[in-house]
Amino acid sequence: MVDLNTISPKNGRNYYIALGLEGSANKLGIGIVKHPIKSQLSSGDNSHQCDAQILSNIRDTYITPPGEGFLPRDTARHHRNWCVRLIKKALKEAGFNDPSNDIDVICFTKGPGMGAPLHSVAIIARTCSLLWDIPLVGVNHCIGHIEMGREITKAENPVVLYVSGGNTQVIAYSENRYRIFGETLDVAIGNCLDRFARTLKIPNHPSPGYNIEQLALKCQNKDKLIELPYTVKGMDLSMSGILAYIDSLAKDLFRGNKQNKLLFDKKTGKQKVTIEDLCYSLQENLFAMLIEITERAMAHVNSSTVLIVGGVGCNVRLQEMMAVMCHDRANGKVFATDDRFCIDNGAMIAQAGLLQFRMGDIVKDLKETIVTQKFRTDEVFVSWREK
Amino acid sequence: MIQTTIPQFPDFTLKISLFKDVINSAEIRSKIADYPFAFIDAKTICSVEQLMAALYRVFIEKNYNRIRTKSLTSECLLCLAPTSNIGEAFRRFGLKDDTKEVICVQIIPTEDLPLDEVDISSLIDGFEVDMNDEHLKQFCDKNIIREIYKFDASFQPNSIEEVTRAVVSAIQLRGM
């Protein structure tokens, strides 16, 4: 039986408070989450019904100029410059002015992600923990997304499609592990979209992926799709070939390479294809592959619900296509969260960390707070869910 | 003579007859354009299943893609072939001047029956026999079939059923 009230809150309070610090990529997120004590959480499988309240969820994104990606060193410097300020702001927003007394646990992203940014946030987490004498919990970034998604959408046991700048995985829960059923064999989809955005030199604000989505919406001839490689391999997929191909198309377009029959009319030399068409075709192709491996995993574990998490999950077209697939599968449902939670944030780390804390799973020795760039989702023992 | 329809495409009725000891193949060849039939050299057909598999493909292409030759009957020859080379398909499966055993395929819109009855025997100077596997087995030439369908040397079929299997596969997977 799962007893989520194993550890009781501080000073006899009837609620828990967790501070969450996220900095695995270019988004720095600070979140404060409150869980009331609920008797029914002492048994059963209710880790997705904690009545979590988001007291604060502040994010600052390190934006690079168009055509440029974000480097670990610069991202880490950004996080170091802003993290303490955001913590103070978050505490104020939540109405706490004595953290060592108000907070039960400090949760931080242990991995996966970029080494330097993860490390800069971990340094601050350790310092606060020692200063305030509050326990620490290291959180797997992906599990943060999953638990936040479950809590917000109340989806009990969905197949999870985790799509972000650094990850592309289809995950299903079984026997205390979030098991990876299918994943990318090379680049993550967010990374693929970001790199294509760089080729197109479109702005990185609010995010490259968002700007590709807007361009795709403006595509004029949606019925004539540019044929791209479709590379699904069993439960996995690969995108580097597609990226290389569409990059070359975009470069030919910019250079006005008339020999490219696909882009320019043989006789008149008139341009047949726009970058909106390229964005539209890329999205339709990549998303179709994602949904295919998701459906395959759903058939495998015979589930009819999907939860999409990670930055790319904000893409409305992806959500639409997933909804159509789920509807066709014994009218299942798709769950997605809006960009407060879909995109990396601190609240999700607080949510997942608090679940670990409530099961008594906290850092005993600071050595456990060493960050890791590789941290597979199925390495974590999910103590807060039934077998 | 077999008179049948492909279950999925009942709008057309197929009438298939087999003649042996035919002596006027040359003459038939010269007048081929005037007749709504497909004339097939029986040496190239090892079973009813092979021919019907090709006819099935004719209607699949007609209804869901496009026929590449002038008529349904000429398309039948193309659909027998392992590749989409029309000229070669006609040359391989069509009659030669010295062809002795001839298969004649008529494709008639079902609603036009029986009006469209054409007396084939008046055209073909030979003896009509039952269109069945037994006769086809007699008249077919396994080497020619092996050559047409480019059987791998290691493939040594020891029954017509095995030849049919290989040939039907080639027909179903033609040229795509």
Binding site: M235, A330 | P7, V48, R165
Partner: protein, 266 residues
Amino acid sequence: MSQEIIDIVQNYLTPNIPITLVSQGAEAVVFTTHVHPYLPQDSNKTGETKYIIKYRPHKKYRHPVIDQQLTKKRTLGESRLLAKLYQIDGLKVPKLIACDQYNGCIWLEFLGSQLPDNNGFSNLKHFLWWNKADPYNNVVKESLLKVGQQIGILHWNDYVHGDLTSSNIVMVQDKLGVNVWNPHLIDFGLGGVSNMVEDKGVDLYVLERAIISTHSAFSDQYVEWIMQGFSQVYEQHGATGEKKLKELLKRFHEVRMRGRKRTMIG
């Protein structure tokens, strides 16, 4: 959803070909019928013969251009693969009867039968349950050795199945021998050419997981017999066979240790 698909397929096949839904996977929907796609009715040898129709439904979520291309490519791909596998000496797969790549339809020979005292369809999963009263009897042993041989022949010829579960192996009763069963491999939707030791290791791992998850009490012996049959095929090919076998068994062990994602088999 499935009623919608049944109507589409029945409409495509016309009422002349009545169909019965057998299974609906993520990839394809499988029907049976008693009507041959093109053989004239009377010469349909046994009249009682059933045929399999495997249909890849249109996926509404996919852009029509992608959907058509994929359906065509995969329908043709699976048919071509089946045709090639059929010609491999000793390998038992369903005969290809017809293929309509424009509508994503494949006609195949129906294999298998209902096991006695309603133990269900004769795939390997049910076959082993049918024998669970006497789980290590000779019929089971012989059958599992043959299962291993079939996979051995497949892999020796550098093909992989891609989704080798105990439901994708059908036991066909031998016409001559009483209680002699010949395993046939079906459903090559995810199969293909591969000389990669990894892909073959995953094939074996998926089957092992399937057997463990449904017959855990006897799975050690069952997997051992399968691997014995599998090894016999490689051992017949002298030194190269032995070398390849060693390499493959090593990778199979690694995949097993790594707990390749497919740890949970339905």
